[in-house]
């Protein structure tokens, strides 16, 4: 790829990113999804369930909860990715972009960049809300930044899955109905909200070995340092392996689905 075409590819991806972010800014419902919904989640778990769930971490349940909400939110943020792409494919917008002499990567890259930025805003909102209700980092600034970075990386990996689903299904209703159901067992049957020891054994077997648990344990470890419930960095390496693996499988699938949109 020549320097010129690389520069154009960057320009094209940036224009699409700008377009996606402008739409996001101008549709109030999207802002509500991005900011209000995770805030409500944080408050609900903190005050409704929090008292009933004893956890052995410093600072109590709010400190246990927050990395869980962060991980879950990063996963759920990808719903918008699948839905937007399905709508664009359905309406023919993607076709029209493909008829222009733009870089083939622009639409998917622009989607990832815009949704990654949106996700970052959401994650920061949650940290701020968490601070207001008693959450505190216990592992320094590096740990705090590491937690945000890992959540972001995991969210982007799941965005690749969502891009594939959105482009493969190409129908908004289908994506709403079936495309994202997999997120619920993955996020709730994990260590996000309750310690795994409280689940029945057969469920634990799944929960212990699935990526969301690894990621959330790693987020917790980075936020709080060693605790009885997240006591070493193994989860971090496992998380990174999962993230790389998910991207390696689903990014090519998404690109293939994009080429086949017609």
């Amino acid at each position: 790829m020549s320097e010129q075409s690389l520069r154009w590819a960057g320009n094209d991806a940036w224009v699409i990113t700008w377009r996606n972010l402008t739409v996001w800014r101008r549709v109030p419902a999207y802002l509500v999804f991005t900011v209000v919904q995770p805030t409500i989640f944080t408050l609900l778990f903190r005050y409704v369930f929090g008292g009933a769930i004893p956890v052995a971490v410093p600072g109590g349940y709010v400190n246990y909860l927050l990395p869980g909400v962060i991980g879950q939110t990063a996963a759920f943020a990808t719903m918008a990715t699948a839905i937007s792409l399905a709508i664009e494919a359905q309406k023919g917008v993607i076709d029209r972009l493909r008829v222009m002499p733009i870089a083939r990567s622009a639409v998917l890259l622009g989607r990832l960049l815009a949704d990654g930025f949106r996700m970052l805003v959401t994650l920061l909102v949650i940290v701020a809300v968490g601070y207001a209700v008693g959450f505190r980092f216990h592992n320094g600034v590096g740990g705090a930044l590491g937690m945000i970075a890992l959540a972001e990386a995991f969210g982007l990996a799941l965005c690749c899955v969502s891009m594939f689903i959105g482009l493969a299904l190409r129908q908004e209703e289908a994506v709403q109905a079936f495309g994202l159901i997999w997120l619920f067992p993955l996020t709730f049957v994990s260590s996000a909200f309750v310690p795994l020891a409280s689940m029945p054994g057969w469920l634990q077997a799944f929960a212990v070995n699935q990526p969301v648990t690894h990621v959330i344990n790693a987020l917790r470890w980075m936020a709080l340092g060693d605790t009885p419930l997240s006591h070493n960095g193994d989860n971090l390496w496992l998380s990174i392996v999962w993230i790389v693996g998910i991207i390696a499988v689903f990014l090519p699938l998404a690109v293939r689905a994009y080429r086949r949109v017609s």
Binding site: V15, G92, V93, S262
Partner: protein, 332 residues
């Protein structure tokens, strides 16, 4: 062939079937066509004839199963990128983002065409002016009417001054006034020298806008020529009248059938009966009045007219242009 901006030879597209009785669908069964530079080709056919499939192949969105096509000398499969740099596409779906203003939409397209920010802004201004969108330009596109949206979309397809423009059913779904306005816009474009391939299911649209017309039915070209040539093919006049009382239509058809060269056709919702009477125009007209009167059938709007492209289509395919699935049910 250097005169031809678009050349299509033996173009075939077969889609794998879907569902349980998955028979392959032959959308295009070997079409040939050629469009001279600076002229307008109207591709005319009913829904499902293969028009959109042909446009999608020519605009590099679909790969043909067999055959070849070139646009401005570039092969649509092997030189797809070169094709994309010389074409524009507008049509049934729009590239317009609802949450951006008309101006922002055009600027975005300009930046995707690498005009640079100032270049894109200048071009957007020109197009808003040219398409009479200056007032609407600052409003979000989601507030636009259907006609306004199509105009903006057409403007967007022209941002990079394409040598060849594809318009896929540009007026489908528009109200009559917006349709006429769209025709004016298209005429002006053509006057500027753009080569245009236009698909339509409206015969009057092809008649109005196209230099040459190809008629496509079920994936094949069944006729080609100028509008006059096509009309000449069936020659002869048509007697038309409307029977307001729906229950009397069948009786009316029986009454006038002996006058026609073929069985009269009926538009069942309007009650319009058409009889092709060859060269015996006025004589047949008088005879029609007599026969309807004798049968006690009241009619309105009795007229004798020259054949339209509608008649051509009927003569070529045996069914009306806007009527695919019910083609057997047209004549009672």
């Amino acid at each position: 062939m250097s005169e031809a901006a678009i050349v299509v030879e033996g173009l075939t597209k077969t889609f794998a079937g879907r569902g349980r009785d998955a028979r392959p669908v032959e959308a295009l069964r070997g079409i040939d066509l050629s469009v001279r530079r600076g002229t307008v080709l109207g591709v005319l056919g009913p829904n499902g004839a293969g028009k959109t499939t042909a446009v999608r192949i020519l605009t590099t969105l679909l790969q043909p199963t067999a055959g070849r096509a070139t646009v401005e000398g570039h092969d649509v499969v092997r030189d797809a990128a070169a094709v994309r740099s010389v074409i524009g596409l507008a049509g049934q779906s729009t590239a317009i983002v609802d949450e951006l203003s008309g101006r922002e939409n055009l600027e975005m397209v300009g930046r995707l065409h690498h005009l640079g920010k100032p270049g894109a802004a200048a071009r957007a201004g020109e197009l808003l002016e040219q398409f009479d969108l200056v007032d609407a330009g600052e409003r979000m596109a989601k507030t636009y009417s259907g006609g306004l949206l199509r105009r903006l979309d057409l403007a967007a397809s022209l941002v990079a001054h394409p040598a060849v423009l594809f318009l896929d059913e540009p007026t489908t779904g528009l109200d009559p006034r917006s349709r006429l306005a769209m025709w004016d816009v298209i005429r002006n474009l053509v006057a500027g020298g753009t080569t245009l391939l236009l698909t339509t299911q409206y015969l009057d649209e092809a008649d109005e806008l196209a230099d040459e017309i190809v008629v496509i039915d079920r994936g094949q070209v069944i006729a080609a020529g100028t509008s006059e040539e096509l009309k000449g093919r069936i020659g002869g006049d048509v007697v038309e009248f409307v029977v307001p009382d729906g229950s009397r239509i069948a009786a009316a058809v029986d009454a006038v059938e002996p006058l026609g060269e073929s069985r009269p056709t009926v538009e069942s919702d309007s009650g319009l009966v058409s009889v092709r009477v060859g060269a015996r125009g006025s004589e047949a007209l008088v005879e029609t009045v007599r026969r309807l009167d004798a049968a006690g059938i009241s009619s309105v709007g009795l007229a004798l007219r020259r054949p339209s492209l509608d008649d051509v289509f009927l003569a070529l395919t045996g069914h009306a242009a806007d009527d695919t699935s019910d083609s057997e049910g047209v004549s009672p």
